[in-house]
C-alpha cells in the first residue's frame, strides 16, 4: 500500500475495484436524477458531471430556454450543495458578484464587515456571462482558478467543492461581450446546448405543463463528491495515452502543428490547461465505463469540449468560416495514436 497524499483515497487492489464500481454507480444515480428533471441534453449533462468530478468549470453556449439553469440547479440539489445564480448584465459590477465591505454599526462600534456575494456557494450559475463587461467577467478569474476571493487586502476561501457553470449566448447576438482568452482557458469544458428533438420536446411539455414534479432527491452528499474527486486523481494514465494527449495539444499550436489548416487558420493553440482537461476528462470517462485507466477513445471523446475554446482562430480562419470543432476533428482523424 503506497503512502497516501492529501485527499487521496487509500485503497487495496480489490478496494480499488470496489471503489470504481461505486463511483460508477453513484455517477449513474446522479445522472439519472438529473435526467429525471431535465429532458435530453445528455451530452451536456454528462460533461457537467465530469467537470464537477474533475474540479473544473463549464461554459455552456446556447440560446436561452434550453434547460441550462434547471440542469445546474438540479445537480446542486441532488448533491446537497449550495447554489446561487448570478444574472450577468452590462451594468453588473464585480462587487455584485464577489461581495463588498459594508460599514456595520453595532455594540462594538463601527467596523467594516465583508458581505459575501453570490459567488460564495458550491455551485454558481453565471447566467449569460458574456452580457457583462470584461471587467466583471474578470472578477471570476481568481475565484475559478484559485477557489478564493480577494477583496481589499483580505482573501476569502471558497467552500469546496466550488463549481461554476457559465452560460453564454452565441457571440452574434445583441449586447454581448466576448470572453477574454484568459477567462475562457479557465473553463474545463465548453459545451454547446442544442435544441431538443421533437420527441424530447413532447416529453418536456408532458412534464412541465402537467402536475407539479417531485422535488429533486439527494443522491450524493458533498463528502461523497469530494471522495469521488479524489478517486479520479488516482486513476493512472499509460504513457502512450499521455503522449497522444501531448501530441494532440501540440498539434493545435500553429508553430508546431503537422496539419496545414492549423498553421493557416489558428492564431493560438491550446495551453497546458487543455492537456490537463483532456487527461482528467479521459480519466472520468474510464471510471464511468468501469475501467481502471483511460484509453485513446476516452481522449477522443473529450477532445472537442476540452479544446474547442482553447483553439483561437485567426482572421483567415474567421473569414473562411472555419470552426475550432472542425479543426480538432481533423486533427483527431489525422494524428496517429502511436507514432
Amino acid at each position: 500500500m503506497s503512502a497516501s497524499r492529501p485527499n487521496e483515497v487509500d485503497l487495496s487492489a480489490d478496494a480499488v475495484t470496489a471503489a470504481v464500481s461505486a463511483f460508477r454507480t453513484d455517477l449513474d444515480r446522479l445522472l439519472s436524477e438529473i435526467g429525471r428533471r431535465l429532458v435530453g441534453q445528455t451530452d451536456v449533462v454528462g460533461a457537467v458531471a465530469s467537470a464537477l468530478l474533475a474540479g473544473g468549470h463549464v461554459l455552456v453556449e446556447g440560446v436561452p430556454g434550453l434547460g441550462k439553469t434547471l440542469l445546474v440547479r438540479t445537480a446542486a440539489a441532488a448533491m446537497e450543495l449550495t447554489f446561487s445564480r448570478v444574472q450577468f448584465t452590462p451594468d453588473l459590477m464585480p462587487a455584485d458578484v464577489l461581495g463588498t465591505n459594508l460599514i456595520v454599526d453595532d455594540a462594538g462600534g463601527r467596523r467594516f464587515e465583508f458581505q459575501k456575494g453570490p459567488i460564495f456557494a458550491h455551485v454558481v450559475l453565471a447566467d449569460e456571462i458574456n452580457r457583462a463587461t470584461p471587467k466583471t467577467q474578470s472578477a471570476l478569474l481568481e475565484a475559478m482558478q484559485e477557489q478564493s476571493v480577494t477583496v481589499g487586502k483580505q482573501t476569502y476561501a471558497l467552500p469546496p467543492p466550488f463549481f461554476v457553470l457559465a452560460t453564454q449566448n452565441p457571440i452574434e447576438m445583441e449586447g454581448t461581450y466576448p470572453l477574454p482568452e484568459a477567462q475562457l482557458d479557465r473553463f474545463l469544458f465548453k459545451l454547446r446546448a442544442l435544441p431538443p428533438s421533437s420527441a424530447e420536446l413532447h416529453q418536456i411539455l408532458d412534464r412541465t405543463t402537467g402536475a407539479p414534479e417531485e422535488a429533486t432527491r439527494v443522491v450524493l452528499g458533498r463528502e461523497r463528491l469530494l471522495e469521488m474527486r479524489a478517486l479520479v486523481r488516482q486513476v493512472p494514465v499509460a504513457r502512450p495515452i499521455q503522449d497522444f494527449v501531448v501530441r494532440l495539444v501540440e498539434a493545435t499550436d500553429p508553430a508546431r502543428s503537422p496539419l496545414g489548416e492549423v498553421t493557416r487558420f489558428v492564431r493560438y493553440g491550446s495551453s497546458p490547461r487543455g492537456a490537463q482537461a483532456l487527461i482528467l476528462g479521459a480519466k472520468i470517462e474510464a471510471l464511468r465505463a468501469g475501467r481502471f485507466a483511460p484509453s485513446f477513445a476516452d481522449v477522443r471523446r473529450v477532445a472537442i469540449p476540452a479544446l474547442r475554446h482553447r483553439v483561437l482562430l485567426n482572421f483567415d480562419g474567421e473569414a473562411e468560416g472555419i470552426t475550432a470543432d472542425a479543426l480538432i476533428e481533423k486533427l483527431l482523424a489525422t494524428l496517429p495514436e502511436m507514432p
Partner: protein, 628 residues
C-alpha cells in the same frame, strides 16, 4: 509481477503470430519483386536471342520470396503493438496497453487492479483470435507480377534488327489550309512569274516558281512549320540578294543610257535603252540604233561608248560603296550582319571578286571600252561590237527592271514567314479580311469613324505605314524602316493596292489605338499591330506600359480566391502604406469615440472593433495558398 508475466507470455504469443504473418507478406512481396525483375530479364534475354532456363527462374523466385520473408520477419515488433492488437480484438479500450506500460516494480493499487483486469481479459483471448489468419496483402501484386513474367516468356519477340523499322519523321504538319488563305501570296507569285517572262529574267522566274511551289505545299499541308520557316527564309534571302543585284544593274544601265543620250549621235540609242523593261523588242531597237550610229559616226560613237563605260563603272562602284548603307535595309538581317563590317577597299575588292554580278558589270565595262577602242581605231567590227553592246546594255536594263517584282516577292515571303511563326496561318487572312471589311465600312475597332469615302484606302495605307513605323521603331524587328516604307510605296503605287497591302492597311486602321499608344511592341509587318515581335510565339505577353505590373495570386486549379485571400491580398498591397495608416488612425479614433457613446448598440461594438482589427495597418504578407 506474476500477473504481468502472464500478460507478457500472451503478448509474446501474439508477437510470434504477427511475425509469422509479416514473414508471409514479406515472402509474397519478395516473390513479386523477383518475378517483375525476371520479367524484365526474360524480355532482354529473348531480345538478345537467348532464353533463361525454367529451373533458374523458379530458383530466383524462391530466393526472392525467402529474402522478403527474412527481411520482414526479422523486423522488431514491440510488445506495445502486440498489446494494441490484443486490445483491438477485445473491446478497443487499451486495457492491455495500459497494463503493459504501467506495470512497474512498485505498482499502485490502481495499477494492480488494472493489470489484474488486463490479465483476466488476456487469458480469455486466444492468439489466433487476436491475429487471425488472413490473405497476405501483396497477393494482387504477386498475381500481376506472375502475369508479367508469363507474358514476357510467351510473347513472340523478334530480333532487334527486325524490331527497328523505318521511323517516321517527327514533323508536325499543318492541316490543309482553307481556300483563299494564301491568295495574296499567290498573286504576288503570279505577278512575279509574268514579270520574269516579260523581262526574260531567269532569276526572277526561278524565284517565282519556288515561291509558288512553297505556297502549294503550305496550302496542301505537306510542309511542317520549321520546314516552311526555313524555306521562306531562304526564299526571302535569295529575293533580297537578287533585288540588290537588280538595283545595281538598273543603276548601271541608267548611267550608261545617260552617257549615250548625252551624245547627239547616240541619243536615239540612249533613249531606247532608257525605255527598256517592256520586253526583248527593246533590246533590238537599242542594238540597231547603236549599230547605226557606229556605222555613220564611229568616232562619236567611240566617245559615247567610252563615256558609257565610265558611267557604268562609276555607277557600279557607287552602288557598291552605298550598298552597305542604303541597301543594307534591303537585305535580311543575317546578311546585313555578315556585311556590316565590309567597308574598306581591300574587303570590298575581295567581296566583289567573289560577286558574279560585279564581275559581270566589270566584264561589260571592258567590252564597252573594247568597242570604243575598235570604233576609235576604225575597226570594221565596230558596228557589230556596238550592236552587241547595245543588246548587253538593254539586257542589263531589263534585269534592273525586275527589282520591284523581286522586292514584292521578298516582302511577301517575309510576311508569310511571320504568319507561320506566329501560328496564324489558318486564321490570319480571315482576320485581316474582317478588319478590312470593318475599315471599308468606315468602322475602326476603336470606335472612330474612318476617313470619308474615297480616301479610305489612302488613309488606311498611310495609317498602316505609320503604324508599322511606330511598331517597328522600337520593336526591333527586322528592317523596320524598310517594312514601313515599302508598304507605303505599295499602297501609293497600286492605288487600292494588292490584297496584302490593303489587308495590312485595314489591320493598322483597326488597331491603331493600340499600336500607336503602345508603340514599341509592333513587328513592322502589320498583320497584328502592336502584337508580338516578329517571330514571337503564341501566348507571348503583349507589350505593357511601364507602370503596369503582374501580380500572381497562387491558387489551386479550378477555384477562385477565398475571402481571406481577397482581403489578405488587399492588405498585402495597401494596408501597409503610410497613407493608409494615417487614414486608419483618423477613423479609428473617431470610431473609438463613437463606441464610447450610448448610441452604438452594445452588441455592435464588438463587431465594429473586430472589423477595425481586421483592417488594421500591418506589413505586407504573402497571400496564403488556398487549401480548398
Amino acid at each position: 509481477m506474476a500477473t504481468g508475466g502472464v500478460l507478457s507470455v500472451r503478448l509474446g504469443q501474439i508477437r510470434r503470430r504477427l511475425r509469422l504473418q509479416a514473414a508471409l507478406e514479406g515472402g509474397v512481396a519478395g516473390a513479386a519483386l523477383a518475378m517483375l525483375a525476371l520479367a524484365v530479364g526474360v524480355v532482354l534475354a529473348r531480345g538478345g536471342g537467348g532464353a533463361p532456363r525454367a529451373e533458374l527462374v523458379a530458383t530466383l523466385i524462391l530466393l526472392g520470396a525467402a529474402a522478403g520473408a527474412i527481411v520482414r520477419g526479422a523486423r522488431r515488433i514491440p510488445l506495445a503493438r502486440c498489446a494494441r492488437v490484443a486490445d483491438a480484438a477485445l473491446d478497443g479500450q487499451d486495457r492491455l496497453l495500459s497494463a503493459l506500460t504501467l506495470d512497474t516494480n512498485d505498482p499502485s493499487p490502481f495499477v494492480r487492479a488494472l493489470v489484474a483486469d488486463a490479465v483476466r481479459r488476456a487469458e480469455s483471448l486466444m492468439p489466433g483470435a487476436a491475429v487471425p489468419a488472413r490473405r497476405p496483402a501483396g497477393l494482387p501484386t504477386l498475381g500481376i507480377a506472375a502475369l508479367a513474367l508469363t507474358g514476357a516468356a510467351l510473347f513472340p519477340a523478334s530480333s532487334r534488327a527486325a524490331r527497328v523499322g523505318p521511323t517516321a519523321p517527327n514533323v508536325e504538319h499543318h492541316a490543309a489550309l482553307p481556300a483563299g488563305a494564301l491568295d495574296a501570296e499567290r498573286e504576288v507569285a503570279r505577278a512575279a512569274a509574268e514579270a520574269a517572262a516579260r523581262l526574260g529574267d531567269a532569276r526572277l522566274a526561278a524565284l517565282a516558281a519556288d515561291f509558288a511551289r512553297a505556297l502549294r505545299r503550305l496550302a496542301s499541308g505537306t510542309l511542317s512549320d520549321p520546314a516552311a520557316l526555313d524555306l521562306l527564309r531562304d526564299l526571302e534571302a535569295r529575293a533580297a540578294e537578287a533585288a540588290r543585284a537588280a538595283k545595281r544593274d538598273g543603276q548601271a544601265a541608267e548611267a550608261a543610257a545617260r552617257a549615250l543620250e548625252a551624245n547627239a549621235e547616240t541619243r536615239s540609242a540612249g533613249k531606247a535603252l532608257a525605255q527598256t523593261g517592256a520586253g526583248a523588242a527593246d533590246d533590238e531597237r537599242a542594238s540597231a540604233a547603236l549599230g547605226a550610229s557606229a556605222a555613220t559616226h564611229p568616232a562619236e560613237t567611240a566617245r559615247a561608248l567610252a563615256s558609257a563605260a565610265a558611267n557604268l563603272a562609276a555607277a557600279a562602284g557607287e552602288d557598291g560603296a552605298t550598298g552597305d548603307g542604303a541597301d543594307a535595309k534591303d537585305r535580311p538581317r543575317r546578311l546585313s550582319r555578315d556585311e556590316s563590317s565590309a567597308g574598306t577597299a581591300p574587303e570590298k575588292t575581295a567581296r566583289d571578286a567573289g560577286d558574279p554580278e560585279a564581275r559581270h558589270l566589270e566584264q561589260l565595262r571592258r567590252e564597252l571600252d573594247d568597242a570604243a577602242s575598235a570604233c576609235r581605231a576604225g575597226d570594221p567590227g565596230c558596228r557589230q561590237r556596238a550592236e552587241e553592246r547595245g543588246r548587253d546594255l538593254a539586257q542589263l536594263g531589263r534585269q534592273g527592271a525586275a527589282r520591284d517584282s523581286l522586292q514584292r516577292l521578298q516582302r511577301s515571303a517575309e510576311q508569310l514567314r511571320a504568319r507561320v511563326s506566329r501560328g496564324e496561318l489558318g486564321d490570319g487572312d480571315a482576320q485581316a479580311m474582317r478588319s478590312f471589311g470593318r475599315a471599308a465600312n468606315g468602322r475602326a475597332a476603336n470606335g472612330k469613324e474612318a476617313t470619308p469615302s474615297g480616301t479610305n484606302d489612302v488613309s488606311a495605307s498611310a495609317e498602316a505605314a505609320e503604324g508599322d513605323r511606330k511598331g517597328a521603331g522600337a520593336g526591333q524587328s527586322s528592317r523596320p524602316g524598310e517594312a514601313a516604307d515599302g508598304r507605303g510605296d505599295d499602297a501609293r503605287e497600286s492605288g487600292s493596292g494588292a490584297e496584302t497591302a490593303a489587308a495590312s492597311a485595314a489591320m493598322a486602321a483597326e488597331g491603331d489605338g493600340t499600336s500607336q499608344q503602345e508603340s514599341g511592341s509592333g513587328n513592322g509587318i502589320g498583320h497584328r499591330p502592336g502584337g508580338a515581335p516578329l517571330g514571337g510565339r503564341h501566348g507571348d505577353a503583349p507589350g505593357r506600359r511601364g507602370t503596369e505590373t503582374d501580380d500572381d495570386v497562387p491558387l489551386p486549379d479550378g477555384t477562385g480566391p477565398g475571402r481571406a485571400e481577397v482581403i489578405g491580398t488587399a492588405a498585402g498591397r495597401g494596408f501597409a502604406s503610410p497613407g493608409y495608416a494615417r487614414t486608419f488612425n483618423d477613423y479609428a479614433a473617431a470610431v473609438e469615440d463613437a463606441l464610447g457613446a450610448t448610441a452604438v448598440p452594445e452588441g455592435k461594438r464588438y463587431l465594429v472593433r473586430r472589423y477595425f482589427d481586421l483592417i488594421r495597418p500591418r506589413p505586407p504578407t504573402r497571400v496564403p495558398r488556398s487549401t480548398r
